[in-house]
Structure formats: structure tokens, C-alpha cells
Symmetry: C2
Subunit: 433 residues, 2 copies
Amino acid sequence: MQKIQFQLPVDEFPTKWYNIIPDLPEPLPPPKEPEDGHSRMEYLAKTMVGECLKQEMSTDRWVPIPEEIRERYIQAGRPRPLYRAVRLEKKLGLKKVRLYYKREDLSPTGSHKVNTALAQAYYAAKEGNTTLVTETGAGQWGSALSYAAKLFDLDCVVFWVKSVYDWKTDRRTLMNLFGAKVYASPSKETKTGKEILAKDPNSPGSLGIAVSEGLEYADTHDGCVYCLGSVLNHVLMHQSIIGLEAIKQFEIAEDSPDLIVGCLGGGSNFGGIALPFVGEVLNKKRECEFLASQSEAAPNLAKGEYKYDFGDVGEHTPLLKMYTLGHKKDMVPIKADGLRYHAAAPLISLLRHHNIVKAVTYPADEKAIFQAATMFLQSEGWLIAPESSYAVRAGIDEALKAEKAGKERVICMNISGHGFLDLTAYKEKMGLP
Amino acid sequence: MQKIQFQLPVDEFPTKWYNIIPDLPEPLPPPKEPEDGHSRMEYLAKTMVGECLKQEMSTDRWVPIPEEIRERYIQAGRPRPLYRAVRLEKKLGLKKVRLYYKREDLSPTGSHKVNTALAQAYYAAKEGNTTLVTETGAGQWGSALSYAAKLFDLDCVVFWVKSVYDWKTDRRTLMNLFGAKVYASPSKETKTGKEILAKDPNSPGSLGIAVSEGLEYADTHDGCVYCLGSVLNHVLMHQSIIGLEAIKQFEIAEDSPDLIVGCLGGGSNFGGIALPFVGEVLNKKRECEFLASQSEAAPNLAKGEYKYDFGDVGEHTPLLKMYTLGHKKDMVPIKADGLRYHAAAPLISLLRHHNIVKAVTYPADEKAIFQAATMFLQSEGWLIAPESSYAVRAGIDEALKAEKAGKERVICMNISGHGFLDLTAYKEKMGLP
């Protein structure tokens, strides 16, 4: 029988996160203060988790994962299996190309976001905090942080862009079940929110407003810290367990990928699967290429400019050197809402700048994306998130290209989440009754 | 670090199903023909999968699982892990009681139903059929069969009770994505459906009508077979992989359950986890008790009468000896719709008759059920199906009872499915905003 599923024994789950900073081809450009006289770093230092800020600057290649976090990772179902996509290969008529996928969709809240949420919640609790605060757009990050807070017996407050809050009732219910307080943003909980509501009681909100509200809330309430779900170095480091597991699982599979494909919005799931492999490439231990799959709606890595920019619309973060579309960029709505972000993580951006990571984009109508997702469902049987479908689309396209050229190729796609809360998007995009 | 997750290596996935028939304390009362002169067995023999009918009567203790089915089981994520509920134990203040749970919620369509769907689809294809036909009520069985049909390159036709079809849009989308044709029943696809619609164009349908339509469709279309998702011996045998995995996983955990708890509607998930353990009890290899958790809305095993009855409202099946509420019984709606069935599987019924399986019921308002599910979510982190929540409720209650009595106890709860498509039910029952 052909091997399909590659498990890593629970006992072999990684004991350290991988930090790529010491292995980068050039030093990571440091964050900068904007020239308006207000220090963003001091503000963030006040509102963020101390250990996370420390990790953000760390130059240690390997950072030990505390036992309490490892235990929660294992409770959350890690290690997650690697699969060989034998039926998808057959469907595509592949003879020379082998396709694999990594299963972050098995996460308790349905996305890879729990990998950093658990770490942040642990450190927040250890530092004596009682409440995690954040903003959420698509809802995956808010769900993951609600989950992690509850698992470490903390409270959680989520400011959710009102236009999304209003219709994503199921995700909201999930957060509420984990005990989180979820506010439609703009809300009456903050000065920022109240001012906006006074001017426009029907404001649909925005990610910028939600971030502002969250930061203000954390700043004005005792025992509160603000948590960020992507872009930053420490977030990508927490996500490195995806790639570290995959490296060991490919050894079990007695195979080796020469292309890693992930979707990319801010870069946390892409970084999670790719960076441990990139590290081995940079240390000449393996050869492998890396492809980020994006939407034309937010082609930050593919078409952005490599420059210093804010991480958020509201200009609360320091300036970070990133491939960016500009932090005020308007982006059309897409179903893969988690990919709608103006810039790519500084770590991924630097690797793109050195041509180690490449990017591809797909039209914002997402037809090609949902077709790939449906082909994956019908062959492999798993319902994946719209975001993850970008990875599958690019994986399929690269496989067909290599096959046509008669080139052997081993491709690994990262499935960042499941699609059980995205069935209305599937219905609409696939024109179902 | 305390062990939480017990995986069975993929290579050790069972190679045989377990059939309890030769181990029963008395022979299973055979199906009987009703006295109206119409042979139900001949009718079923025409419309059902041949190998499944053969397995229904088999007296072999071990039935080899064909390689093609094993491969699909592994692709569907088997073996599924067993978990120790350490955080739930802590929440309940347990010192003497250990709680475990088995994770069928990790199934591709979100329930244990795929375990028999894959087997039935394989045999149907092998016998030259092109289309699987079935009825569905709650929708789990329809999703699982749609999935299995696609994985074996077959077509699938599902007749879905119209009153449920109309509002469970997400489950319908899932079936459609797998390529199934899903008809609201009564439909215009059958004579039965057309006659009912002629009398009442707004008929909400019923499970009885949907079964009639499915059987008629299978009977009148070439290459079509009718598939059943619970109650019958072969279905419970296919499900035995749940318990067979659990037996090996408890060995890995170096522990042994003395109580197995599952929810019970028709009996397929309960039989799946319990029967392999029951077999060892009957063969004096272990001591263990078995508890079926039911709704007051359908307390077939707890309060039914042990007698011959039809398996369906429409009287298409032979008479089976079961604990039954009567096949015409009206049952109030509950969120755990998969438990609303009038009778318990003949195998489980016989074991109940011999006092080997016991039953407990919970009020149809389901408050206690959703509270248990939410406690499970907040401690273990997993969102489980309303049906599975009955197992958790009974597991918690038995744990507290034993703890109070100062009695050591090892309880295993079967989590039959996930709740990502049941969040509106959680919202309503937990009174969330």
C-alpha cells in the first residue's frame, strides 16, 4: 500500500522554535521611529507582552519552547500530519511530480493562528497579566486568541471590524463560547470608538479603527496586553513549528521537497512552513525553492515596494522595512479575507529581496482559487479555507508546469486552515444551488 | 510532561473489522418478514450492496478490510488519536477518576459516518454500480456518503427531508461540493414524491418519505444501490475500527477503561467504540461497563420495548428485534438531530437485554447537554457536535459520581463529530448575543 499519511510521534514534537534572524543573508533592517515625535516603540513596549518583545529582537537561532506551551501544542493536536496527495496527483496526471500537504486545518479553531496565540497567552499569564486584547478582521486571529486565553485561564477582548462582525455570526459564537468579549468596532468601550460613533453612528469600522481601539483598551486597563497575530518576527518564530515538524516528516517519508508553497497575507503561515527549510538552504544543507501565493487584491510581496512603512492603517506601529502597497491602500473584498493585508512580514520581505522567496498572484474574482479548492476536496477529501486554497492553486500550477517540462519535482503545500466556516463562500463562488 | 495525546502509528491501523455476532451471549434474533405478503428481504436484496448483505449475516469474528478501504481510511485521517482529558479532569476536581476521549470529530465530513460510507462505496463500485443513493435527516450521513462516493469515483443521490434541506444550507453545499445530487424530499424525481407533492405542494417531508424515495430511485435506476448509515450489523462492524484503535491506544497509554460512554441514536458510533471492548468482556479478557447516552426525545434503549419492529416509518425494512419506541413514534425536535431515531440497533439491543449495555437519558431542552459541551470546549479546546455532547455529559456525570463515592474509575467518551456546522445551535442554547 502506498504511504499517504506521515505522522510524527508525539514524543518527537520539537522542543525549540527556529529563529531565522542569525541565518539571514544580511542583518534585518531594524524598526524605525517615524518623524512625528511620538515613539511607537515606547507605546508598544507598554502594551505588548514583554517576552514577545524580547523574542522580537532575539538573535538566538533556537529558542526553547516552555513545557507548558509544548503541552498545550500537543493538546491542540500537534504534531499535525503531512500527507502525500496521491489522489490529486492522479487527477492531475502527474508522473514526475510528487505533491504533499501539511495539515494546519486540524487546529481547534480551524487555522494555524493558534501556534502563536498559545505562546503569547502563556507569556502574558506568566508576566502577571489577566487579559489579552486584540483586533480581528477575518476572524481567525480573534478565534485563536480567544481559545488560547481560555486555555491559560485568561480573559480575552476582541475588537472586530463591525462590517464583518455583523455577518460572521458563527465565528463570533465560537469566540463567545471560549468566553471572549467581542465588540463590534467602532465600539463604546474606547474614547476612539465613541468619537467615531458620535460623528457616524453607522460607521462600518475598519481594521485601523479596531487596532486603535484595542491598543487604547490595553493601555487604559490594568493587566491587559495587546497581542498581534502576524507580520512580526516572534509570531513567525512561533509558527516555525509547522516547518520543523515537516522537515522530520519528510525524513519519515524518505523524500525531500524542492518547492514549498504557502498563501501569504502578512506572512505567518508562509513563514511557519518555509523558514525552517529556508534556514537549511542558507546553511547549504538542502536545495529548495519557496513560493508565496497571493491575491491580486493584496499583492504586497509580488508587486509592492521594499521600503519602510507602518504595519497598520492607524500608524501605531514603528516603521518596518517591508514589501508594501502602502499602509493606506484600499483593497477590494475577497473571500480569502485573511490575505488582505498591505505588507509582507519584514523577514519574508528580506528573503524576497534576496530572491530566495518568490511570489505569484491570482485574480481577485477567485474563480481559479475555488476551483482548485474544489478539486482538492474531490480528490483528497478535505474542505480547506479560502486562504489555503491559494497555496493549493499555486501548487497545482507549479506541478503541471514541471510535469509538462518533464521535470521531477517534489512540492509541499501548506494548508493553513479548514473551510467549515466558509461554506457560504464556496456556495457563491462555485455557483451552487 | 503528562501524556495527553495517544497516537496509533499509521502502520498499526487495524487490518480487520470486528464482528461481535459469534461472541454474543445468545444468537441474534434473525430479521423477520411482516405478515402482509410483501417480502422486504427480497426488496432489499435488489436495492442494497451485495457484500454488505453478506456481511450482515456473517458469523466470522474477524473480517479482513480490503487494502483499498484501508488506504481510504488512512487518507481520511485514521488512526484518530485518543486523548486524556487532563484539563477537564482538573476543572471537575477529579483525583480518582481519569477521563479519556476518542476523536471521530477529525473526520473529513465531521462525523464517524465516513467509516461505513467508505466501505459501502468500495463494495458498491466493486460490484459494478455507478451510483449510491440514500436519505438523510440531520445531514451527517448524506455528507459522509457524498464524500465516500466521490473518493471511489461514484455518483451520489441524496433525498433530504425538505424541512431540514431548506435551512441546513452549509451541509447541502458540502454535499454539492462533493458532486452529490441533493433533492429536497418529497421531490419530483420519484413516483412517491410526485404523488405527495400533487396532494400537498408544500409538504415538509419526513424521514419515512425520504427513505421511500431513495429506495424507489435505487430500484428504478440502473447501477444504483441504496446505502444505510446506522442500525444494521454490517454498519456497526465497519465502525468497529473506532474501538479497535482505542484498545491499542489504551495499551500505549498504559491504562484501561472501565466505562465506555457514547451517544446513541441508531447505535453506529456507540457500537463502533463499544463492541470491540464488549467482545473482550464476553471473552473474559477485560472488565468494563458500557453506557449509552440518549435524549428524552428518543429514549429507545432506555425506555423502549424489546420487540420486533420496522427500521423505518415507511415499513420498507424487515422486522428487526430491537428496543423500540414504535416506528411511527413522533419525536420532538432537538439540536442533536442525529439521535432522533425510534429504535436501537439489534446488536446493541441484545446487549442491553443482557444488561451488558446500560442507558441514561437527558431532557429534550438540551440545556445540560450544551453546558457540558461548552465546559469541554473551554477546558479541552475542541468544538464538538451536539450529539457527541451527550457522551461528554454522561461521562462528566459518571466521573463526578465515582469521585464522590471515592471510587477509582477510567472513563472513555466517544466524540462522534465536530460542531463547526452547529454553531447556531450553540448560540441559541447558550443564549449568546
